[in-house]
């Protein structure tokens, strides 16, 4: 195997040497309109002192082929500043990119700005951010590479105000999935979690990315249903020239890999490709009636025999992490001036984790009888070993056809993910039950997202003043929890010998069970935007109007079985789950004894729900002074929610319209330029946004969830939340990507929705509108080259700090539950923080990037403050996630004759910190809810561009 890899590398090296040796050099790039954050079409690009030149196309792109030499390029457009870039040095065959932003001159005098090429290295993302109407933070692929993040969830953490919960779910400004929206190329995508609306961002590999944009203030052209932010994943665009790349990576963690006691389950032949080949399919047809053994023993034993017999977690050797990706892109000229381009990417990632000491799901309670007892009492202790393997495959194919005035794109994306997690836990129960339990847990989750984006962009009138853009972006997402298996044995210890025996006792530890849980969602979003550039008050202005329609359908279903027995001694299984379904143990009607299958799920555990949003908007962006831009807009949205489902008592809703809301959402943005070069700005923004009940929340659902063992109860009275948002930000853009910003925000919520526990019914939850809530905070961001220190020219300090405070009212049940369980001397605050909100977020680090020697490196620190993870219910205290101090170090070296090979090395969790959540209660010592050590990992990667 090793020699094969070596052979392959040699082959690749040979290919890489055979690159083109064309003598002419190429300069290409994009001209951006700094006033409207749009491309500048038909701008003039001239090589100074010559007649050689070109104009940008309707997308702002240009390309010049020049003989080697040193040039000055001049970029100009009527009514705009002219920019000259000096010191453009071209060596034979070199291809460079020069992106330029032009701002309107405002006055009739032409303004000339001259800068050198090296100082014009402002990244496209930063320029987009600078020129954006809305308040947004961008993350370019370059900066993601610098942090060494392999998926979007870990990359997006470095954006100010963004935190990630559980490595998957993004919170912006302390606001979680209800208030934070994830979009793909600006369009809605399905969520992949029964309890959440947003998608897990760890599903998206960075390989498919152009950049990530986090929009924090609303404008009329954005959907109204976000408050914290929109995380927009922008997939790779078509390259201007032929680009092929290959990269390989390996990751090693001494705690996880090459462990002989790693825990797994029998694999299907296709697990390594992120899906199950049918091994874990439910063998029982949905309409199959399962009789009692006393009714029809023959049928029940036949049905029982249909199930796979593997119920025990297996020990096996763990392998190390690996990843592989291949990309290809090119652009061809078709006909006279038409261009056809494509980009394709396939990536594969396989990661393994193993925790030999994994504590999770412990329960501690307050002493209900004695309020002077501050100690938390152990109700359930749970710890054991856990193994996890995650396979992620993604494929992206983008094609673009461009004529002089139109562009059509079709992007196809498929993400396939298979994750198996297996564990052996010991449970010690003390209060609700009193026993010891051993559990083998086997899980497999198969996720898939498919998206097809069809879009077009057309420009009309002279200079492309009228632009029409449309997008149609259907997606289909599935999440199949396939054959989750739990086999609980009660552990009995002989008091004299200490010897353990294992029995299955339904009323103590539950029956052996397995379940399948399916969620399928399709989204059909479409939108059209029309932009017209015109003059207002003698200055450049822009009118935008548009419409959008989004239809979503979600279908959810749980099928749950358990395996009780009759006249059977479970102690003879010896505590081995694999023995339970052995043939001799399966129910035999002749002896009326053995293990049989029983269906535990019901029709009330499923639903089918639709939502639709129909929207239209108008906005006007204009200047009243050269230094002051005003953007006013209003958006109209009509939201409908239609539900089909059944209550436990059999009452049903069939395609019943539950919500029908029509609202106007106004927004106003003011941007003040503090200097004529527009490098310093103050932005202020007001907008009204909404947060709507999700599919099952405004419903009559009574759904038992086998993972949490909680029952979810819908609320037909539930209303959307409306939020008023105010933002202020000061920004200063320096040369070479230097950047400083300080911002403040305030959000006021009317009737915020929160999932609340029901005090009189333990383990049942329902969404409620809870009075009012407020969130406010500040963010500070600094990116500074340390070129003022000799020898540190290539080092950059990158830091951002966010401070967020939230105040949420309690539900009546929660307040009473808290009051009843106050300790002596403890008082109850009027409000508490929002679940999932961190009081502070810090990112700090240094990056090093040298064009000359090809070395690139970074040392980064990330921490998120103590976060309310689980809202306590009655005598169960609140659970907080403690800060995880992560220090990462990356180093890479680009080498090879044409600098097309890169070798990279990164170290994660250098401080070897634990991931820890604790119960906290007045006067009490913290008690563990969960704890594990992610270990320290080393990754090695190689990539080749050709």
């Amino acid at each position: 195997m090793k020699s094969r890899i070596l052979q392959f590398l040699v082959f690749v090296a040979i290919v890489s040497i055979q690159t083109s040796f064309a003598q002419d050099a190429v300069v290409r790039g994009k001209v951006v309109d700094g006033d409207f954050n749009d491309v500048l079409a038909f701008a003039n690009i001239v090589v100074k002192g010559t007649t050689t030149g070109t104009t940008s196309d309707f997308e702002g792109n240009y390309e010049l082929t020049l003989a080697p030499g040193s040039y000055t390029l001049s970029f100009s457009f009527v009514g705009y500043q002219t920019k000259e870039i000096t010191d453009v040095n071209l060596s034979p065959g070199q291809e460079i990119t020069v992106d330029v932003t032009l701002n309107s001159s405002g006055v009739l005098d032409e303004i000339l700005i001259t800068t050198t090429l090296s100082k014009n290295s402002e990244s496209a993302v930063l320029s987009f951010q600078k020129n954006s109407v809305a308040l947004l933070d961008g993350l370019s692929l370059e900066s993601i590479k610098a942090t060494g993040a392999s998926n979007i969830a870990s990359a997006v953490k470095s954006v100010p105000g963004v935190s990630v919960q559980g490595g998957k779910y993004v919170y912006v400004r302390g606001l979680g999935d209800r208030y934070t929206k994830s979009t793909l190329n600006g369009m809605d995508i399905p969520g992949l979690d029964p309890d959440r609306n947003t998608i897990q961002l760890d599903l998206f590999p960075t390989k498919i990315l152009e950049n990530i944009l986090v929009v924090k203030s609303a404008t009329a052209d954005q959907p109204a249903d976000f408050t914290g932010g929109v995380v927009d994943i922008v997939t790779k665009d078509i390259p201007g020239k032929a680009e092929y790349s290959l990269s390989l990576g390996l990751g090693y963690n001494s705690d996880f890999h090459f462990k002989s006691d790693y825990i797994t389950q029998p694999n299907s032949g296709t697990d390594m490709f992120g899906f199950d080949d049918g091994l874990r399919s439910n063998p029982i047809a949905a309409a199959q009636q399962i009789p009692l053994p006393q009714q029809n023993g023959e049928v029940v034993s036949t049905l029982t025999r249909l199930f796979e017999k593997d119920l025990a977690a297996q020990r096996d050797q763990s392998l190390m992490d690996m990843n592989l990706s291949v990309t290809a892109g090119n652009q061809f000229t078709v006909g006279d001036d038409n261009k056809l381009g494509f980009f394709a990417s396939v990536s594969y990632r396989n990661e393994t984790k193993y925790y030999d000491e994994y504590v999770n799901g412990q329960i501690f309670r307050k002493d209900e009888a004695d309020k002077s007892n501050f100690n938390l009492l152990l109700d359930r202790g749970q710890s054991g070993q856990l193994g996890n393997n995650n396979v992620l495959i993604s494929g992206l194919l983008g094609t673009t056809f461009k004529t002089e005035r139109s562009k059509y794109s079709l992007n196809l994306l498929h993400i396939q993910n298979g994750e198996t997690e297996n564990s052996i836990f010991r449970q010690v129960n003390g209060i609700i039950s009193s026993n010891q339990v051993k559990k083998d847990n086997l899980t497999y989750v198969q996720r898939a997202v498919s998206n097809a984006l069809l879009s077009g962009k057309h420009s009309f009138l002279e200079d492309g003043r009228l632009e029409v853009e449309w997008k149609l972006s259907p997606s289909y997402a599935t999440i199949y929890d396939k054959d989750f298996r739990v086999t609980p044995f009660r552990v009995l210890t002989d008091p004299e010998t200490g010897e353990e025996s294992f029995v299955i006792e339904p009323s103590e530890s539950g029956d052996a069970g397995r379940f399948w849980r399916d969620l399928e969602e399709y989204n059909l979003p479409g939108k059209i935007d029309v932009t017209l550039d015109h003059k207002l008050f003698g200055r450049e202005a822009e009118t935008k109007i548009g419409g959008a329609y989004t239809f979503k359908n979600r279908v959810f279903d749980v099928t749950r079985f358990s395996f009780p027995f009759l006249n059977f001694q479970s102690v003879n299984l010896g505590g081995n789950p694999d023995n339970l379904l052995l043939d001799p143990n399966i129910y035999d009607s002749s002896t009326n004894s053995g293990v049989f299958v029983r269906k535990d799920s019901s029709d009330s555990d499923k639903f089918d729900s639709d939502t639709s949003v129909m929207a239209g908007y108008f906005s006007e962006s204009f200047k009243v002074q050269d230094w002051m831009r005003i953007i006013l807009g209003v958006r109209f949205e009509k939201f409908d929610l239609v539900y089909t489902g059944e209550r436990q008592d059999g009452s049903r809703f069939d395609d019943t319209k539950i919500l029908d809301k029509s609202d106007f959402f106004p927004s106003a943005n003011l941007i003040f330029d503090l200097d004529s070069e527009t490098t310093a700005k103050i932005r202020t923004s007001y907008s009204r946004t909404t947060a709507r009940p999700s599919f099952k929340e405004a419903s009559l659902a009574e759904i038992f969830d086998p993972i949490s063992s909680n029952t979810f109860i819908g609320n037909l009275e539930l209303q959307p939340t409306y939020i008023d948002n105010i933002d202020v930000r000061f920004e200063k853009y320096g040369e070479g990507g230097d950047f400083f910003a300080i911002s403040g925000f305030y959000k006021s919520f009317d009737d915020p929705i929160e999932l609340s526990f029901i005090r009189r019914a333990y383990g049942q939850y329902t969404p409620l509108n809870l009075g009012d809530a407020e969130v406010f905070g500040g963010e500070l961001e600094l990116r500074k080259r340390l070129d003022f220190i000799p020898g540190m020219e290539d080092v950059r300090l990158i830091t951002n700090i966010s401070i967020i405070e939230s105040q949420q009212n309690y539900s009546d049940d929660e307040r009473e539950g808290r009051l009843d369980n106050l300790r002596e001397g403890e008082t109850l605050d009027d409000t508490r923080q929002l679940q999932g909100q961190s009081p502070y977020l810090i990112n700090a680090g240094f990056s090093y990037d040298s064009e000359e020697n090809g070395w690139q490196g970074g040392l980064f620190y990330n921490v998120q403050g103590k976060t309310l993870q689980i809202v306590g219910a009655g005598d169960v205290a609140d659970v907080y996630t403690l800060p995880f101090h992560n220090v990462k170090f990356n180093l890479s070296k680009t080498f090879g004759e044409s600098k097309n090979s890169t070798l990279s090395l990164s170290f994660d969790n250098i401080l070897d910190d634990d991931v820890e959540s604790v119960y906290q209660s007045f006067g009490a010592e913290d008690q563990l809810f969960s704890k594990w050590n992610p270990g320290q990992s080393i990754s090695l990667g190689y990539s080749l561009n050709f």
Binding site: A285, L378, H414, I431, P506, D820, G874
Partner: protein
């Protein structure tokens, strides 16, 4: 909009050919049960009578709602459909509703499974035994008496019923509340699962008031407890539990009534004879168990006499226990309940034990246990820190000599149970 959706769907289909392949072929089930004439489903909102001339089928959660009375004639047979969780077949007498189910020794009212081949006019079928458990749910009576609830709440939702169904509430302030009459009733083969590791009891009494009459009740082959009281003040007499999966009689939330003349016959998988918990809120209440006989079982893994836990308070007197294992005990679970004993709120008198081989004296089965208070959950049993025992000089076991003696008679008047299914099967 339709065209738009069609176009989009087409794109999706092109893109994704991944579907879920669950489910095999359907095997026909020939389960042809006895013909039944009447099916009970949903809510019974006005007075209704079940007659003994036909077999009644109980399908799913059937609730008699406030203001309605369900009358059941002597000799009536109710067969329940199988199902667990939301599908479990249960009969709930909600707060404010009444049940008037008075059988006779010759014609008891029988709740059993659809799988039972018992016919009209019979008192037992022939195809099921005491080991056929969990074939349906159970009978729940919910009242408005006081219960000691967590956080001193006045009412609570009974386990297994979603909070959106207010018929699942129990508790109030009227200890004299009247939920009707239950007499000569046999509840067999129930105990369906209603939550993780949580099954329904044969007879659940949630805050049932003292105006209710409960006597001559038999629960056979229930997965969970035979009879469980959640608070309330109702007095009960002549109760028999046989071959339950968990505990025989289970008391919680400061039940303050009297149980007179009861028998628990452990089966092959039974746990405790008695499981007694204390108040969950600040409301206190003492139960009385008077004249109790417990028959042990040598096959079961558990099979303890009794477990007093969680600040339990009450009086257990005139008890006879026989046939238990040498390792079986009567335990005070932790310091909390031991303190109730020291304070005189938990008392014992006149326990006669038919000594198992290896037990020297009757008081030896009474033990004080202590709870783990530190390092309990780190997987290492060697470093656990426990409470100190608080009943010392003399110890709980030593003091038990005051009420425990060896013998072969005492406890309940078993002749009261001659009408029962258990008696006909020779379990007594």
């Amino acid at each position: 909009m339709k065209k738009f959706q069609l176009l989009s769907l087409l794109l999706i289909v092109l893109l994704s050919a991944c579907n879920n392949d669950d489910g095999g072929t359907i095997i026909p089930v020939d389960d042809d049960p006895d013909p039944v004439n009447n099916v009970l489903t949903g809510e019974i909102t006005s007075d209704f009578t079940l007659t003994s001339d036909i077999i009644w089928e109980l399908s799913g959660r059937v609730t008699v709602t406030s203001g309605a009375t369900l009358t059941i004639e002597p000799g009536t047979i109710i067969k329940a459909l199988p199902g667990t969780g939301a599908n479990a077949s249960t009969l709930i007498i909600a707060r404010g509703a009444k049940i008037n189910a008075v059988g006779t020794a010759a014609e008891p009212i029988i709740f059993t499974s659809i799988a039972d081949n018992i016919g009209v006019g019979q008192t037992a079928g022939s195809n099921l035994t005491e080991n056929d458990r969990g074939l349906w749910g159970g009978l729940l009576v919910l009242g408005k008496a006081r219960a000691s609830l967590s956080g001193d709440a006045v009412e609570n939702q009974i386990e297994g019923i979603p909070a959106s169904d207010s018929n699942g509430l129990y508790g109030g302030t009227n200890d004299a509340d009247n939920s009707g009459m239950l007499s000569f009733i046999s509840i067999r083969h129930g105990g369906a699962l209603i939550g993780e590791g949580n099954e329904i009891n044969g007879l659940t009494l949630g805050a049932v008031g003292s105006g209710t009459m409960i006597s001559n009740i038999e629960v056979v082959a229930n997965v969970d407890d035979g009879i469980e009281w959640f608070g309330g003040a109702v007095n009960c007499s002549n109760l028999l539990v046989w071959a339950q999966g968990d505990d025989g009689l289970d008391i919680d939330e400061a039940y303050s009534g009297t149980i007179n003349n009861a028998a628990v016959v452990l089966g092959d998988i039974s746990d405790h004879g008695l499981e007694i918990d204390g108040p969950a809120g600040s409301l206190e209440g003492q139960f009385t168990i008077n004249n109790l006989t417990m028959f042990g079982n040598m096959n079961t893994e558990g099979g303890e006499y009794a477990d007093y836990r969680d600040n339990a308070m009450g009086n257990t007197q005139n008890v006879y226990a026989t046939g238990f294992k040498a390792s079986s005990d009567v335990e005070l679970d932790n310091n909390g309940v031991a303190q109730q004993f020291l304070d005189g709120k938990l008392t014992f008198s006149n326990w006669v034990i038919n000594l198992p081989d290896g037990v020297g004296a009757a008081n030896e089965i009474f033990v004080e246990k202590v709870a783990c208070i530190a390092n309990c959950d780190d997987g290492d049993p060697n470093n656990d820190v426990f409470e100190d025992k608080i009943i010392v000089n003399p110890s709980f076991t030593e003091r038990a000599a005051n009420w425990a003696s060896a013998g072969t008679s005492g406890g309940a008047d078993l002749s009261a149970f001659s009408w029962t299914y258990a008696s006909s099967k020779g379990a007594l």
